[in-house]
Symmetry: C2
């Protein structure tokens, strides 16, 4: 596990292979980790990123990057992150340790235990915990309904700048979820709901063609560095169990999975050999490891499959196609649907959040908003009611590929059918003609669907439809989606989001270039682009850039106008303006009336 | 002018310096120039790009790249492009050659004629033409109103796949414009209107800090290669006149300018020294050269300037800030406004289209949709009526920086106040926090505003706010904006746009990788991304890619389902399905029931 150790040994190691050539923004002295206190729970330290400005102000931003970007914290991937939430879970007194399920060779896709590379096994594991039988669901939903403000809720309240009671209420109503498996105490609590900051998820995961365990852990850390609020581990090759353990023990953000992928591996890829028992065992395996939310394709019903027959691109959800194949092979109803109550009772004991998968989502513009897609959504609505009835948090996954004019209908229907459960959408891509740029085709749809009410956006990288994303693809996907999420927040009127924009606009108008760079989503790229044509230090305070040059900087002209005509610019009466202008005009002309700085050459 | 000759000598030369490492898509044998005929005017040859698919079909796409991508045509930048429209202009018999204005040193920012580099002067120039006094406006608008279907309209009808009468009617109503100066006969006719394909404009132009004539001509050719339907030359340094001549004589697309930039150079950058006479002379200079549309900031009225006083970012339009400075220095009304009728009468004689500039557009999210912006829009509405009254085509420029929820209001107001004159918007950027990625922040806004009704989108490159774009920035900006424009067209229900998406979706579902690449907006990047992990030739027909690998390709599983269950997938009755499935289930199981291809390793 040398490579994994390398990742942990120093957060700087993640920079060396950045193909974009940028260095970590946390390396800038202007950006630093800060912790906000909680008045209610003094022991809480809620991590934020603070940007110090050259004018003495500072801006505090949401931070997903965990202890890795705190120079005061020594992280070591071999031991995992501190179990931040362990005392909170323990103090609630409704869970207990137990001897978990025994590891099996098939968990890692191996034929026998002899083949296991023991050096690769994470050695700092704890015994799993789960809710004790008599206490029912140990979920944030159950607590919220009972009126309990948990430490997680308090932490989130500070993180989001709202009251803890608001957090509790949104969770109790099912309009927000806090993915927080009791076996993933390392994660920093976060919330997904449309009345909070719009979140971004990054998918990582090997495919059998490329990638390795080390790369996956590294990608997780890298993704959180660029703003991933949750990470889905979609690995499908060998060593799934072992890879996941490393990721969970080192992840400061909730981890999601699609358990059917691993279940399929256990039956050697034969969909018809899947059984409820194999699936249930896989879910328990993942619950014990600490997976925070699981995509479950329980809405792919037998009778819906023929509705996809006339599509351009059939079924494009991997889980959806697996379940459709199973249903047809057995001519039976989807076992995830028929066993949904039992599955829900399992998740309730670990506080695993449902992410009800849209297995019949459209895979092309042509297929958007069709009968198959909306039939499944109706079923997801039914299932979300059962989940909540049993105390399990639930969010709903959404498309996919949707032209702009059909996006809003998706959100409206989802809210209505699923009683406002948080919507978690992939994109959507607004056109299919730009493979290689689907982070952009989908950022357009993501921004819009976020504005309409989606709570979390699953990112898309430039490699979508073409290959497995590398480091820079992950970064490019995240930047595009952070833009989409933030644009959504602005459009929804989020005050904190507006403050960030305002701070950057002020810096721009006042030619505080360093502040513009430091406030940027990607400070290194902003700085590098500026310096490409104006690398000299004086340019960092110059009242122009190379885009327009010193003669034509409208901002400078505009500033000169304000300086010259400050008093009558403030006047609102036309007569007043006229009078003031006669005087000011003479003054301006006398001063040389230059509307821009003299050109040096 | 060696470098310029290099550009012309071979279109391949533009590839060598492509920092993205992609080669020209026209180099692919699958993509070729084709010409559509016109039944009405047999002499017309309307250029399109034809993509040959491996299944024998082909897709024909709009093509902006001009003769440069036709291997049958020999272009030479020293002589310019053929004067395609000259016979059409002549046959109308309402224009005449005349001895144009004499070149003056100040046209090129020189102190005396001795300083002119005669080697740099374009030598193949024609005498200018203009409308004869007695015939009135020689504009496409005037012709359309008289019921005349011009050759330009017929050409556009073929290019857009609509009837010529529809083109004429939209132009007559002022809902579309055909920028086509009688002195730019080299340009291939195109139309800007919301009932046609959404167009993209690329800005080029040196600033005094960087760039050269050669680079500007090269950028123009490069921009049209990636889909720029018009190009604005925003040069502001020395040699403006000479640079523009080279660009116009070699441009297959309409060229726009902002004449106030050059006028300001002529008065040594002192805004208060600007006069109507200097400006009028500059406009005539540019009319004679062949500029097709001009940005005129005639809506920046004296009384509106104080409305910008409480903004975060003041006046961010260069032209707007210049005119505001002039108004304040003279405490007089904007001379572009007070002389608007005379200006219009000049443009009418050359068929120059107005692009009424939004000098008070917002430069930050905070300033969007404010009183200054909408006051100016009201005035642009008044001016557009005068323009049309005098037979001059007009479009209206729009913002800028606008959060998503305020975009629609811009379009609705513009349509109402300007009587549906085509809207031509810059972005808008939907957030300011991502310098370095403003092609993405603004592609989101551009796609939406295009859907709402904007006819042409002015691109934004990744260097916006930071520096002058290089070749790859121009390409990245154009790709992002072609995505936005196409997503708009899809959302507006454009049938041709949908066919392009459908062709790509079909290719994707049928694993025709080469067709996917060739149909992509940027075939080279799509191919390169795919080949990064799967370079071998067999992968080009494989039923998977490295993103999911062979085990988990949902499309392949979906295809297998369709093959196995084709007949009852088509059935709609549940009973029927059930019956068919019993038989099919046995068959599927007998065949091994593999839902994916066997893994090679």
């Amino acid at each position: 596990m040398t490579a994994v150790n390398d990742v942990s040994a120093s957060s700087e190691s993640t920079e060396s292979s950045d193909s974009a050539g940028t260095s970590d923004s946390s390396g800038s002295s202007a950006s630093s980790k800060t912790y906000l206190p909680s008045a209610v729970r003094p022991e809480l330290r809620v991590p934020m990123r603070q940007i110090a400005l050259t004018n003495g102000d500072s801006v505090v931003l949401y931070d997903t990057s965990g202890p890795y970007t705190d120079p005061e914290v020594r992280t070591d991937v071999r031991f995992g992150l501190p179990a931040l939430r362990a005392p909170w879970i323990a103090e609630r007194g409704d869970t207990a340790e137990y001897d978990g399920r025994t590891w099996q060779p098939t968990d890692d896709g191996l034929k026998s235990a002899d083949l296991r590379n023991l050096d690769a096994v994470f050695s700092g594991g704890r015994k799993p915990v789960r809710g004790t039988e008599e206490r029912g669901a140990v979920t944030q939903l159950a607590y919220a309904r009972r009126g309990l403000v948990t430490a997680e809720m308090e932490y989130i309240a500070v993180r989001e700048g709202v009251t803890a009671e608001f957090v509790r209420d949104e969770v109790a109503r099912g309009r927000a979820v806090i993915p927080a498996n009791v076996n993933h105490p390392e994660a920093e609590p976060m919330i997904i709901g449309r009345h909070f900051l719009t979140k971004v998820n990054a998918n990582i995961g090997n495919s059998s063609v490329a990638s390795s365990i080390e790369e996956e852990v590294d990608k997780m850390v890298w993704a959180t560095r660029w703003g991933a609020a949750t990470v889905m581990d979609l690995s499908t090759g060998r060593n799934i169990h072992t890879t996941r353990e490393w990721i969970l023990r080192n992840s400061p953000v909730p981890i999601g999975t699609v358990p059917i992928y691993q279940a399929l591996e256990k039956v050697n890829g034969k969909a018809e050999d899947l059984t409820w028992e194999v699936f249930r065992d896989t879910v328990i395996e993942q619950c014990e490891q600490g997976v925070d939310y699981m995509t479950i394709h329980a809405g792919v019903l037998l009778r819906y499959v023929p509705l996809t027959a006339n599509r351009k691109t059939g079924i494009v959800s991997r889980g959806g196609s697996i379940m459709a194949a199973w249903c047809l092979a057995h001519h039976e109803e989807n076992f995830l649907y028929t066993n949904f109550r039992e599955l829900t009772q399992i998740l309730a004991r670990y506080d695993v959040t449902y992410s009800l998968g849209d297995g019949l989502r459209p895979g092309s513009i042509y297929d958007a908003n069709d009968a198959a897609q909306f039939a499944e959504l109706t079923t997801l609505g039914e299932l979300s009611k059962i989940a909540r009835e049993l105390g399990v948090q639930v969010m709903i996954e959404g498309p996919g590929h949707v032209p702009m004019h059909k996006i809003k209908e998706n959100v409206e229907l989802q809210m209505e059918l699923c009683d406002e459960a948080p919507f978690y959408t992939l994109g959507p891509l607004t056109t299919d003609i730009a493979p290689g740029y689907d982070h952009i085709t989908s950022a357009i749809g993501a921004a819009m669907i976020g504005w309409y009410g989606t709570a979390m956006l699953c990112y898309v990288t430039p490699k979508e439809h073409l290959g497995l994303p590398n480091r820079d693809d992950v970064k490019q996907g995240l930047i595009a989606y952070k833009i989409a999420a933030h644009a959504s927040d602005l459009a929804k009127g989020h005050e904190g989001a507006q403050r960030w924009d305002d701070a950057l606009s002020d810096a721009r108008f006042e030619f505080r270039w360093e502040d513009q760079f430091n406030l940027a989503l990607d400070p290194d790229t902003a700085r590098a682009y500026h310096d490409e044509t104006l690398p000299a230090a004086p340019a960092k305070t110059a009242h122009f850039c190379s885009m327009c040059g010193p003669h034509f900087c409208s901002m400078q002209i505009s500033r000169n106008i304000a300086e010259q005509y400050g008093d009558q610019m403030a006047a609102t009466d036309d007569g007043e303006i006229k009078a003031g202008m006669d005087a000011k005009s003479a003054e301006f002309l006398a001063s040389g009336a230059q509307v821009y700085l003299p050109l040096a050459d």
